[in-house]
């Protein structure tokens, strides 16, 4: 079974040039917050409860259709473990957008958000777009980080905020699509000097705007 899927993926990746842009996205956050699960849910619509620590880095490719454009996403999943930090931070520079993830049932992972944000500032480009995601929102019983705290921290850092669940497939797609939109806006902005109209830039909401991001917290 494994080899069958592998060959299919090989073909898919090598032959498909049929897209308009390619965006590189990086998922970061403490170990075990659910980065890999989040990516697997989005890319393969699959979920496995067993925890396997990611070795260094991994990525998946997914082509989506957004704003009348086919966008190829190369989504990098990073190891949360500190001993891989060198490799993972090397990838910050190539990423156009970030998903910074914490686990709502793990205070530690939430406390580390500030540090992760600092890492982005250090290793990434100046206009890095970041979405803060509180994962595992299906586990309401074990919640230790309230939505309100998450949102406040996101506002403080100037990121947009989502609560999501890879397990129950809540807000996963929305998170990626929002990030793609935000990168598109940045792209238009950076080319704005000539004319804003070509890419259909919506002179869009700044990330620091308080009410702009559609907070789609989960209902559970």
């Amino acid at each position: 079974m494994a080899s069958a899927t592998d060959s299919r993926y090989g073909q898919k990746e090598s032959s498909d040039q049929n897209f308009d842009y390619m965006f590189k996205i990086l998922i970061i956050g403490n170990s075990s917050v659910g980065k890999t699960s989040f990516l697997f849910r989005y890319a393969d619509d699959s979920f496995t409860p067993a925890f396997v620590s990611t070795v260094g880095i991994d990525f998946k490719v997914k082509t989506i259709y957004r704003n009348d454009k086919r966008i190829k996403l190369q989504i990098w999943d990073t190891a949360g473990q500190e001993r891989y930090r060198t490799i993972t931070t090397a990838y910050y520079r190539g990423a156009m957008g970030f998903i910074l993830m914490y686990d709502i049932t793990n205070e530690e992972s939430f406390n580390a958000v500030q540090d992760w944000s600092t890492q982005i500032k250090t290793y990434s480009w100046d206009n890095a777009q970041v979405l803060l995601v509180g994962n595992k929102c299906d586990m309401e019983d074990e919640r230790v980080v309230s939505s309100e705290r998450g949102r406040q921290l996101a506002d403080h850092l100037g990121f947009e905020f989502f609560e999501a669940s890879a397990k129950d497939n809540i807000n996963v797609k929305q998170t990626f699509e929002r990030l793609v939109d935000v990168i598109c806006e940045k792209m238009s902005e950076s080319l704005d000097t000539a004319d804003p109209a070509v890419t259909g830039a919506k002179q869009g909401p700044q990330l620091t705007d308080q009410q702009a991001p559609p907070h789609q917290d989960c209902a559970c």
Binding site: S14, A112, T118
Partner: protein, 610 residues
């Protein structure tokens, strides 16, 4: 003891897993590069179509894009905001929901910038100006693996080709099997880097990581296997033998046979149009220049009364970036040695302005004939963008006794205007041979080398104001800044010892004839100097710049206080000042327009020195 072994083996597995990811990434990058190359080639073609060429007389009243005649009253054309060229109504693209428009080339230029992700690289270069624009972390990691191990596992950056020119996947498999051998050194790399990083990220209290480290036993490994087999991206370590060939297949499809040619490797590595690609010649060693060519280039040869014709065909393959010149035959050549009625002809080509031995291709020598048949194909690896800046020089020579060479005639073809997509231009064609161009004509062929610069207009105010400034609204902006990085030069007329102590002077002449002058440091003893020096011209506004001219001159520093020797100059902007060389400059002129119309973005230019 037992635990140590298992830890080691896991780390080995880790490395392999990561390497697999890196290779997969490389495959993705290759596709992406191929796509980008296509986009850029397309843009280049649009540019060529519009470029005012040597052969076509530039007419003021024709559309700059399609060359259609413009009327006096109807279809008068209008000036494009981007490039300042007058274009007809057909060659305009209206921007979404506005009445604003750009000409087809300017529109495509922006389009390409979006589609290639160039916008991002430019933005990123603002924060990391010293680092390469395009290099990916994966490529770097792979390279460091190879440097450490001193084993070339795969070529560091295979050129962007998607042809399935497999070169033995079983061989590749074997190489993968040998990873074990250099894991030790890789391990050292990881170790040193991680310890370094730990200092940086001490604040990160990632408790789980420690636990994880302790739990890295065989069981952990087994569970990984289980999990990984469900994912199509992750590499299943234990079933690697079964799954690896599939991954390798996709990799192998990306690795063309071009690597078998060591001479071309350098070109391959620099397949992206970065300054380093333009200056790959800078790595060449002066001593490589062949004695014979140096002799013939210095005029150390005999001249025959030129007569006859040469038949050849030119073809360019965009996929492989190779220019092929098929030399078929010559007829009615002059005798190399008139008295003895002797002639041993051969054909030599250059892609001017490169006259180095690397840029030389020769056919075999035909004995005792003035109507030789060669049937030989001479090949060059050139980027499409480079092609537009080159002249193909095909010359015929006689090899006499004592290897004395006699010049029998030449043909020079500007490639900027050559339509490589038109199949009719690929046919064999007879060209009359000509004598060497006189010194006066030398100004037509720029042969004083090339200067690579990177320019940016720094403009603090918002875009709207910039538009106003472009439209000529009287809005003085004393805060504007023209930043220019003089990267390097090549093919300069060197001293007899093959070196130079060169430096660059930059002179910006403002509309009021006020001159701003700057000078770079001297690059000592370099034939292909790399200054990497930045000039900053302060207090200029875009509208001023439109009417200003920028003169860049390259000098060889005098040794004993005698006056410095001028090696060449390039001029940008303000058309009246470009004496007679407008056709030549059209490429750099376009780039200069790009600098002016896209503030805060770096533009790379290669300027031909006259």
């Amino acid at each position: 003891m037992a635990r140590e072994v298992s830890l080691n083996s896991l780390q080995e597995l880790e490395r392999e897993v990561i390497l697999q990811v890196l290779y997969r990434d490389q495959a993705v990058q290759n596709i992406e590069e191929e796509r980008i190359r296509k986009l850029k080639t397309h843009l280049q073609h649009l540019r060529w179509k519009g470029a005012k060429s040597v052969s076509q007389e530039y007419r003021e009243n024709s559309c700059a894009r399609c060359h259609q005649e413009l009327g006096l009253l109807l279809n008068r054309g209008a000036v494009c905001q981007g490039c300042s060229h007058r274009v007809c109504s057909e060659c305009r693209v209206f921007l979404r929901k506005t009445r604003a428009w750009k000409c087809t080339v300017c529109f495509e230029d922006r389009n390409v910038k979006i589609k290639t992700g160039e916008w991002f690289f430019e933005e990123r270069a603002k924060k990391f100006p010293t680092e390469g624009k395009h290099g990916t972390a994966g490529a770097k990691l792979l390279q460091s693996y190879q440097e450490l191990s001193k084993i070339s596992v795969v070529p560091p950056t295979p050129p962007p080709l998607s042809e399935s020119q497999c070169s033995g996947s079983s061989h590749r498999l074997q190489e993968l099997g040998q990873f074990k051998g250099f894991n030790k050194s890789v391990e050292n790399l990881f170790l040193s880097v991680t310890t370094h990083m730990k200092k940086l990220s001490k604040s990160q209290n990632d408790m789980t990581s420690d636990k994880q480290l302790l739990a890295t036993g065989p069981r952990q490994c087994a569970s990984r296997t289980e999990r990984r087999s469900q994912s199509d991206t992750a590499i299943n370590v234990t079933t690697r033998k079964a799954s690896a060939p599939d991954i390798l297949k996709s990799l192998n499809q990306e690795s063309p046979k071009r690597h078998t040619n060591p001479v071309l490797k350098q070109e391959d590595l620099s397949s992206r149009p970065t300054p380093s690609a333009v200056f790959s010649g800078g790595l060449r060693h002066a001593s490589l220049i062949s004695i014979n060519s140096t002799c013939t280039e210095m005029g150390n040869f005999d001249n025959a009364n030129v007569s006859g014709e040469i038949e050849f065909a030119i073809r360019y393959c965009f996929k492989t970036c190779s220019l092929e010149i098929c030399i078929k035959a010559c007829k009615n050549l002059a005798y190399g040695e008139e008295k003895k009625k002797k002639c041993n002809p051969y054909v030599k080509t250059y892609l001017l302005p490169d006259r180095s031995s690397q840029g030389k291709r020769k056919t075999g020598i035909q004995k005792n004939t003035v109507d030789p048949t060669f049937q030989e194909t001479l090949k060059y690896e050139v980027e499409p963008a480079q092609l537009a800046t080159r002249w193909l020089q095909v010359s015929v020579w006689h090899l006499g006794t004592l290897t004395r060479r006699v010049f029998l005639g030449e043909v020079t073809i500007p490639l900027a205007t050559w339509d490589f997509e038109d199949s009719t231009t690929q046919c064999f064609c007879w060209y009359p041979l000509r004598a060497k161009a006189e010194k006066v004509d030398d100004s037509i062929l720029p042969n004083n080398g090339e200067l690579a610069v990177r320019a940016k207009l720094v403009f603090p105010a918002g875009p709207r104001k910039f538009q106003e400034a472009l439209e000529g609204t009287d809005w003085p902006s004393p805060n504007g800044q023209l930043c220019l990085v003089v990267l390097g030069a090549k093919n300069l007329p060197v001293r007899s010892d093959g070196t130079l102590n060169s430096f660059v002077k930059g002179c910006l002449t403002l509309p009021d004839q006020h001159k701003l002058k700057l000078k770079s440091p001297v690059a000592k003893k370099q034939a292909c100097p790399r200054w990497q020096h930045s000039f900053v011209f302060n207090g200029v506004s875009p509208s001023q710049l439109r009417q200003s001219s920028l003169e860049l001159t390259v000098w060889d520093q005098a040794i004993f206080g005698v006056s410095d020797r001028l090696l060449g100059e390039a001029r940008l902007g303000s058309k009246e000042n470009v004496a007679g060389g407008r056709d030549m400059c059209s490429q750099s002129e376009l780039q200069w327009q790009k600098v002016l119309s896209s503030p805060n973005l770096w533009t790379d230019m290669t300027l031909v020195l006259h």
